[in-house]
């Protein structure tokens, strides 16, 4: 797909400008140089510098002789490199994780410590242990469960409060209030996760420990709450944007029929923007899933499942904290298992993001009235 689209874009590219032989030659040479540099970097051949110098020389010639064309080619290359970066990350993640997946098979994703049986039938295999590098046993189940629980709590915080705040900003707030709250929300988005982590580690952890008398410091409950607050601004701003896309004429129509503002919001604006608002929540969930530092610092990071499963005061591990707490001393296999965690994270978040993108596109289409 990428290839054919590349070709397509190259064709349109060629059709649009008259390319003479010298330009074509220079372009080809430039591309060769660039590919050499890239290959050399990936394979560690040590040819990057001459290749890059060569490319810059060709670029200089191109700029001098065919500025417009060169500019177009360069911006095209820049676009391609964006795609390449994501491609590189994806391919590399998957490649690195293959070893662990090969080793553990599907157990990587479903393996339990004790086998789970339903009416005597084993539905989930038991590995004896979730995560034991010394015996090369790896299962992401505890980390995925931890991510699930914290994300659920975070969503329970961020979704209703975020959407309500978006409604406030988009529909209810008088000007002066909006001008205070809106930048406030944006600034809230800017607070680095490690700051939450520091406060979480020094203040909140102790607070929860003392007042909930949990057996150990750090809990999914606290992490979920903190990353919920961290995901809030994302939900608010995306949801507000989508509420804003509901045309005023639609709202005017409702008001002119004598419905109250609140009725207009609940029966016209929110339903019309529903897909956008859900996209906002999805993006917020994505943020929450990917949150690392605060969780790492607060959580206990023991690889296991809380007992019982829904004990939100459990103190185990999430996908992100698993990586952050173990990457350093991981041997080859363990690192590969961590990459598997990265793949699960990456795929989940990418899926959420793409879904929300589609939903938003759908919203636009709906509102434009097909």
């Amino acid at each position: 797909m990428a290839e054919s689209s590349l070709k397509q874009s190259f064709d349109t590219f060629r059709a649009a400008e008259d390319i003479d032989a010298s330009a074509l030659l220079a372009g080809a040479v430039g591309v060769v140089f660039l590919l050499t540099a890239l290959t050399s970097f990936v394979l560690r051949l040590g040819l990057e510098v001459p290749a890059i110098v060569g490319f810059v020389v060709v670029l200089g010639y191109g700029w001098y002789a065919h500025q417009g064309l060169t500019a177009k080619a360069v911006t095209f290359l820049m676009t391609v490199s964006t795609v390449l970066i994501l491609g590189m990350i994806t391919v590399f993640l998957v490649l690195e994780s293959l070893h662990a997946f090969r080793l553990m098979g599907v157990n990587m994703l479903v393996g339990m410590d004790e086998p789970v049986t339903v009416f005597g039938v084993t539905v989930l295999p038991g590995l004896g242990n979730f995560w034991q590098p010394s015996s090369a046993t790896y299962s992401l189940v505890p980390a995925m469960w931890g991510t699930f629980v914290t994300t659920l709590i975070a969503t329970a915080v961020a979704a209703p409060l975020g959407v309500a705040c978006a409604l406030f900003l988009a529909e209810i707030a008088p000007n002066w209030a909006r001008e205070i709250v809106k930048p406030g929300i944006e600034i809230l988005a800017g607070i680095p996760s490690i700051v939450y982590g520091f406060i979480g580690f020094t203040v909140l952890n102790t607070y929860v420990f003392q007042n909930f008398q949990t057996p150990s410091q750090g809990s999914f409950f606290l992490v979920g709450g903190v990353i919920g607050v961290m995901a809030l601004p994302t939900v608010v701003s995306v949801a507000e944007d989508s509420l804003d896309t509901v045309p005023d004429s639609m709202k005017d129509g409702a008001l002119a029929l004598g419905s109250t503002d609140w009725q207009t919001m609940t029966s016209i604006t929110l339903p019309a923007a529903f897909s956008g608002v859900s996209a906002a929540v999805l993006l917020g969930v994505g943020r929450a899933i990917g949150e690392t530092m605060a969780a790492t610092v607060i959580l206990g990071n023991t690889v296991g499942l809380p007992q019982p499963l829904y004990d939100v005061f459990g103190n185990n591990v999430t996908l992100t904290t698993l990586i952050a707490s173990q990457y350093g001393d991981a041997g080859e296999t363990q690192l590969s298992a961590l990459f598997a965690a990265g793949v699960v994270l990456f795929v989940t978040v990418l899926f959420l993001s793409l879904t929300s993108l589609r939903i938003e596109a759908k919203l636009k289409q709906e509102l434009s009235g097909d």
């Binding site: 040590g46 015996s135 410091q217 206990g300 023991t302 296999t333």
Partner: protein, 345 residues
Amino acid sequence: SGDSGAGAEAEAGGEASGSGGEGTGTQGSSGSQSDGSPLTADGSSTVYPITSDGAAVWNSNPPADDEEYWGPGQYDIDTSENMADYWGGLYGFSSSEEGQPPFLVNVGLSHSGTGVEKVKNGQVDIGDSSAPVEDELPDADQSTIDKFVDHVVGVDGQPIVVSNEIYEAGVTKLTGDELRAIYKKEITNWSEVGGPDREIQAVGRAEGSGTDTAFRANLYGDAQAEMSPDIRKGQNQQVATLVRNSDNAIAYMALAFVGDGVSAISLELDGKTYTPGENLSDKGYPLSRDLHCYTYDGTSEKESAFLRMLISDYGQTMFVEPNNYFVLSDARQEEEMGKLAEPSN
């Protein structure tokens, strides 16, 4: 344009490592004497206080008349040079600028597993570890293990600590069996060991940390023994903070981190009681362990210069003792010195 340099450097390193050997000119991962690249170390949070304090003084390179941190004349050292200039000078390193050390020392912090991984991968010059490399890298084959050069810079008598509340409630001593049971989740309430009716928060260090490895090896007799603490923290300092902020915690850690609100308790093993501050340095204390600075593929002059400083009487007095660790005996000191490259001047 930085890439080529990187490649070149890596290559040079690779080449040099081929020649291997001990104390022969410029080998190991450090470059030539004129190259100002820093000496890097990473790993154990237990060893960190020693190497980091050493590096701190090294990097600030105090002059000979500095009584507090340098002060030649005290340890059979007679020089008018600055601290780092003196130790570096032994191997022909000299600083390009007055007051600057001949090279900087960067000491990172994680835990032992990271340290040995990084030194093995050539990412740092020195890998700090508070457990032997064999225990840290159980999967590694012997030829890899053999390439590690072990430099012991101090000894830790790993203490068992509890939160103040627990200590004050009378839990000042545990037996080995009790301790083992606690970390196996067989004892979960302090009342079972004579304390208040409060759940035990069993704090552990991250798997792969030397403290954890050594603890398991020494207490259960197997570095991979199964153990299920309630919470694992990456570094000693986090453990200390956690224990201080809790009222029900127990933890094993490095001596350097015992302090306010983190009370060390006595441990009774095989009928003998080991009490912190009294006899943890005893040979028989099973939790005591060596603190290692590993180099890989021989020890370069650069590495030797810094390690020699740590192992010397000066280093032991300045950086090991103040951190509550036990200094090397004269014999061991001698032995460790022998593993370093010969000073060229």
